[in-house]
Homo-oligomer: 363 residues x 2
């Protein structure tokens, strides 16, 4: 039996106990813009020209964030699509029929998806003791069939930034393209001294997601490229549409996401995002120390992500208590200091951690 | 210079003169649900369980629409993703390393995109004189490397339904999988005597888009499969998420789309959709006749899409006048009778057509 006709509808949960997500509550301006543009489709720019114009502006605005004067690209569904497209462009532009992609083992799992979808070989290299790509290990895995080298500017698990300029050099030496995945980090790193963007290294494509730290509404990913050649390598013909050629992975697309990215960037770049970064970094430093004094091993946060080694039983008990938590592949608790995460919320979490410890002692 | 910081924002255009789109204004209940669920991500079901539960219900509801008792699948970004996934599942489940897909030349261009992305060969067969797949021509193109046969239930250009049961038989004879693209037709055909769904033929996967005639908000596509084996063939592992395995093409996904599909189906299935279909069909019949009496060649509408052979100059003049129009690949004007299209709007269009004719006579 289905729920057809049922009027009951659960409320979406609040963000108060969400410590696991790289998404967050949209900025109020982003929420309003998303609602206003709900019925538009930037995938059909001749029918929906207003949102298509906004999308061109978003790409330009993202260029300011990633320090590129004249970027091309589009608003994707998210980081997964942008990463797939980076691999697809590299594969399509290369001559080999046995293409491979080389990156650190800290790559987001969307590259596994890209490898399956696009039928390319994914070669992962170990990271160094600080969870960053090891340039020599990357270089060792590159050969004549390498079409793309990938570096990460803000890893999903530990928020680390790979040595982007050195990885770019390695890619260029091998005549391979170079992609930077800044899906999460892109709206944090402009306020740091990390070397990660188009001004710091020779980069072909980048992923940077407005719907993560950019505070846009889902779906608003960013796919940024240095030249039109990249988009041309992705384009298919579009009969029935008055526009010619479509480089996106999807067809019909969300105008809500585009408009909300535009609104969030207009409202928040750069000062609002700087403030978010500083707040998040302060929370990360404080929370890491609070866990350390409780005797837990903590991976030092470079950016607003904290990983803590806690026993599986504790993780499960905290999940039972209503906390939305995530784990690294090594099993550590991972807390992402998104804009919705507050000191009060973390204090509540720490109180629950303390309750666990005292009830453990009583047992 | 970019528009950063600019407060100016264009209004999205109204749907009054949109005759080209297969999307439409969301149902009021769908719009409200989309707004309510804007900040949720069904791609992370353990963090956002409420919207994940809604998604399971939507798949079940779509099962009612396509006459499948126990469907599996998910809410995709749209028809393009669902079509790509159907090809991907077929490719991944087959043994050949030189896979091909066979379908009629009337296939949506998303299959060209799927062929490029997935590196499969797309073999197109001519259609018959009524724009439907020619079963013999399809059969001629099938060989041992054919992993998928595709039929369309409501073509993008003429709204035609291919001979689905016969195509299914041809696919089965060749040990190939069978996919039906009902992206547009799926919410129209339940109210016709067409043979198109899971009760009429042996079908592995189907595309049916709530954000087209289903009146959900973008992005809400539907990917429906008969068994878990299909989703297993698409799944990649998901470290950092508490769920295991992700079969979708994208990662982070729109909770707005899922919730709005749920709301639209709850409000409109079946009577609201039946009414839309009957209204659209009446408009199509009337509009086709009005164009015929004006001397234009019209492709008889089987479903609420009308194609009319008009001169390029007239098409351009009508576009100049503010009409959002689309063309078939043969160059005909194509009008899709979506729920937002009214008799008044079409009467205005016909008046503009008449003005063109009289100004042409005056010249």
């Amino acid at each position: 039996m289905t729920a057809l006709g049922s009027a009951a509808r659960p409320e979406p949960q609040s963000f108060e106990r969400v410590l696991s997500s790289m998404c967050t509550e949209p900025h109020p301006a982003a929420r309003e813009a998303a609602t206003h543009f709900l019925a538009t489709n930037p995938g059909d720019p001749d029918t929906y020209p207003a949102v298509a114009a906004l999308e061109r502006e978003v790409v330009s605005m993202l260029g300011d964030v990633v320090d590129h004067q004249d970027p091309t690209g589009y608003v994707a569904t998210g980081g997964t699509e942008a990463n797939i497209q980076a691999v697809r462009a590299a594969r399509n532009l290369a001559a080999t029929d046995d293409p491979n992609v080389v990156g650190p083992e800290s790559l987001h799992f969307s590259f596994q998806k890209a490898a399956d979808v696009l039928d390319v070989d994914l070669r992962l290299a170990p990271v160094d003791e600080d969870y960053r790509a090891d340039v020599d290990a990357i270089a060792d895995r590159i050969d004549d069939d390498t079409v793309l080298v990938v570096g990460i500017a803000g890893t999903t698990e530990y928020g680390r930034v790979d040595p982007i300029p050195a990885l770019s050099d390695v890619a260029r030496d091998a005549d391979a393209r170079f992609h930077v995945d800044a899906a999460w980090g892109g709206f944090a790193l402009p306020f740091t001294d990390e070397q990660w963007n188009f001004a710091h290294a020779d980069i072909d494509t980048m992923t940077i997601d407005p719907h993560k730290l950019g505070q846009a509404a889902i779906p608003a990913g960013g796919f940024i490229a240095t030249d039109e050649r990249t988009l041309d390598a992705l384009a298919v013909d579009t009969p029935y549409l008055e526009s010619t050629g479509q480089a996106t992975l999807t067809g019909t697309r969300s105008g809500a996401g585009v408009a909300s990215a535009h609104a969030a960037l207009s409202a928040q770049w750069p000062d609002g995002y700087r403030e978010n970064y500083e707040t998040g970094m302060n929370l990360a430093t404080w929370f890491a120390e609070e866990m350390r004094v409780r005797g837990y091993d903590v991976v030092s946060p470079h950016h607003p992500i904290v990983a803590v080694d806690i026993p599986t039983g504790d993780f499960e008990a905290l999940t039972e208590a209503g906390w939305r938590l995530a784990r690294t592949s090594a099993g550590e608790l991972r807390v992402v200091m998104m804009p919705h995460v507050t000191r009060d919320s973390l204090a509540g979490f720490l109180a629950d951690v303390d309750d666990l410890a005292s009830s453990g002692e009583e047992r």
